[in-house]
């Protein structure tokens, strides 16, 4: 290693800055998709709330652009010295891409400012304004695809990278899977972050009109988040399948060896996301006059979701990897799942459990729709705990992104580029679950702190002005 970063170490510095950059990038890529859909829907339905929601959210997105660039620069600096060999390798392979990336990022930024600041001037030419928003999202997605190519290449490079052309390097075995997974996850994050802002605004609102608006905004954000969240496990399966087909030993390392317990924790994280989103819906349905009959389904729904979550999380054993044996004094059968219950540890059982959770979430939403159709929604009269659920869900969502991102990176084992460029630094090893959890936790808390600042500037001060 040519140079290390003092105190925190090069790996931790790259980890935190890279993760923060990805969090901000996910937000500025996901939220505008949400914003344009809201603007279009508001224009079509003549519902001014969508217009307000879209405009207020876009102001916050614009503020987040600066932090995306700052964290990106910090990430680049952290990579330059300690990991110069990796950077040289990637620049050699993806030279044209690293030229296109800043160009598209510049176009994206220009479009973002144009979109936000022409909101008033183009109020009478809504079609043109929405078109700018669509262009912003198209360019933003291209930026994501470019960098996903580099990330995917590091895990699944083509068989002969020396002779591979640029398209072969870009269109590697997991590029499409990663694109799909990240695109859906970004929209999910955008929805949940909007719901988080709405929760804060609702809890501090002074007038009933404001409470009604932010109650509705939280509902809409959560709806978008949950609707896309339901597609995420499927996108995850597609991505995992691509990894498995590329090299089964990576899949073994992930599902059976050192990362196996990471996936037990992943089961907990995704279960918590669904539980939080369902909790919000079942608490908020109480503000619909005439929805009382539907509350009879609340307990059975949660019973099934909780049972399915347990099935998803049941481990095959309590051993951290394939080479660790049972501690002294503990019999192997005490920490290995009994024979008759072994099916609970298999993928088939996990897949059924996930399907049950998704299905129940969908049915909850259908109950909600029916209740609204038959009764009267009293916007603004939602119980405060529902708003705290909208705080809980993004916290879990952001942590999950950081944690799952770490799994993807750790899957390369002791390689910078799998089977091509070996990691010979002192940080070549796979970090244990606890270390990984702490790092994901730090990144999540820093992101939240910065977002709280952005949000305060964008919503509170913006409103006062």
């Amino acid at each position: 290693m040519p140079i290390d970063i003092p105190i925190v170490g090069a790996r931790s510095a790259v980890w935190i800055t890279g993760q923060l950059h990805l969090f901000f990038a996910a937000f500025i890529l996901g939220a505008p998709i949400f914003v344009v859909i809201c603007e279009w829907w508001g224009h079509r339905s003549r519902d001014e709330r969508y217009e307000r929601l879209a405009h207020e959210t876009m102001k916050v997105v614009l503020l987040a652009y600066g932090f995306t660039a700052i964290s990106g620069a910090a990430f680049g600096f952290a990579l330059m010295g300690p990991y110069s060999d990796v950077m040289v390798h990637l620049f050699e392979k993806f030279g044209p891409l690293f030229g296109l990336y800043p160009l598209f990022f510049l176009i994206e930024t220009v479009l973002a400012y144009l979109y936000c600041y022409t909101w008033g001037p183009l109020a009478r030419r809504k079609g043109l304004h929405i078109l700018i928003g669509v262009a912003l999202n198209v360019v933003g997605t291209v930026v994501m695809l470019l960098m996903n190519a580099v990330g995917a290449y590091m895990l699944t490079p083509p068989a002969s990278p020396e002779s591979a052309g640029i398209w072969e390097l870009v269109n590697n075995a997991t590029w499409s899977g990663l694109n799909l997974h990240r695109f859906v996850a970004n929209v999910t994050l955008g929805g949940f972050m909007v719901a988080l802002f709405a929760a804060f605004m609702f809890l501090t609102a002074k007038t009933h009109d404001d409470r009604a608006f932010y109650d509705w905004m939280g509902f809409t954000g959560n709806f978008i988040g949950v609707a896309t969240l339901m597609a995420l496990p499927l996108a995850g399966y597609v991505y995992s399948k691509e990894i498995f087909l590329y090299d089964a030993t990576i899949a073994t390392f992930m599902m059976a060896d050192k990362l196996s317990w990471f996936f037990v924790v992943q089961g907990l994280l995704v279960s918590l996301l669904f539980l939080g989103a369902n909790y919000y819906m079942w608490v908020s349905i109480r503000r619909v006059t005439g929805a009382e009959p539907y509350r009879a389904y609340q307990r059975p729904t949660f019973t099934v979701i909780l049972a399915a979550s347990v099935v998803w999380m049941v481990p095959q054993n309590f051993l951290p990897d394939l080479v660790t044996t049972a501690p002294a004094g503990v019999a192997a059968q005490d920490i290995v799942i009994p024979e008759r219950a072994a099916f609970l540890g298999l993928m088939m059982a996990k897949a059924l459990a996930v399907t049950a959770i998704i299905l129940l979430t969908f049915l909850t939403y259908m109950c909600y729709r029916r209740a609204i159709a038959r009764g009267t929604m009293r916007w603004g009269e939602i119980a405060p705990q529902a708003q705290y659920a909208l705080v809980f869900v993004p916290a879990v969502a952001v942590y999950t992104m950081g944690f799952m991102g770490a799994i993807r990176e750790l899957a390369r084992q002791d390689w910078h580029v799998y089977n091509v460029l070996r990691d010979t630094t002192p940080y070549w090893y796979t970090t244990p679950l606890g270390h990984t959890g702490v790092m994901a936790g730090i990144a999540t808390l820093v992101f939240f702190t910065v977002m709280a600042f952005i949000f305060w500037i964008g919503f509170k001060l913006g409103q006062a002005a």
């Binding site: 309590f318 951290p320 192997a332 709280a452």
Partner: protein, 226 residues
């Protein structure tokens, strides 16, 4: 407007519209939870050893934690209207508290889960003994043979067990000695013509990723496993 809903158990929950806090009565005995706890803790020791359903202590604790968590979820669902801070600072503080507590819980779970040990410098084997070098390589991520093969109860099960590799390898392909078979199979992986029955052919061709002397070391090690 106040609505009232009667549960099948006889307890009453009052729903107040417009933000009035109402506390649910807690008269019910959670028989379901008690029964499940009894199943988790009392049932396994009563089952015969060979029945195959004796959950160990770690699993009992796991299911108990899941039950406690589930009770907490249902308790939260029963709350009609929790109070909220009045001031902006109070709201911001409460949101930060929920956020930090959530992330703290998730980190605590990750820390409490089983942890594998970090590699130690002394694990690097500098020996003239080829079999010892091969043994070290077998368990290192560089070759990662252990991910799919078991030796003496350790390792994965996707590939054939190798505890008696030296004995079994000689009988795989007629006319091919154990050493030759192991070397060729290791080099060719799934592409090698002979597939072990009952296993999906997925072995990587290590001839492309390991040096010839590393394959020699691995073969030397496997030949000691009689």
């Amino acid at each position: 407007m106040v609505t009232q809903r009667e549960r099948t158990s006889g307890a009453h929950v009052h729903t107040a519209a417009g933000g009035r806090a109402v506390t649910p009565t807690l008269k019910r005995v959670p028989w379901g939870v008690i029964a499940l706890l009894a199943v988790v803790w009392a049932l396994p020791p009563l089952l015969p050893e060979g029945f195959g359903l004796r959950f160990g202590r770690a699993f009992q604790l796991f299911f108990t934690a899941a039950l406690v968590f589930s009770v907490a979820v249902f308790w939260l669902l029963d709350q009609e209207h929790i109070p909220q801070p009045k001031s902006t600072a109070g709201v911001l503080g409460s949101i930060a508290l929920v956020y930090v507590a959530t992330v703290g819980f998730l980190v605590a779970v990750a820390v409490a889960a089983p942890q594998f040990a970090l590699p130690r410098p002394e694990d690097e084997v500098a020996t003239a003994d080829a079999a010892k070098r091969g043994e070290a390589l077998f368990w290192k991520p560089e070759a990662a043979c252990f991910q799919c093969h078991t030796i003496a109860g350790r390792g994965g099960t996707r590939g054939p067990e190798l505890s008696h590799a030296a004995t079994v390898a000689g009988s795989r392909v007629p006319g091919l000695a154990a050493e030759q078979y192991l070397r060729e199979k290791m080099k060719g992986g799934a592409a090698y013509p002979f597939k072990v029955p009952g296993y999906v052919p997925m072995m990587p061709a290590f001839g492309q990723s390991l040096a010839p002397d590393q394959i020699d070391d691995l073969v030397a090690y496997l030949l000691t496993l009689k």
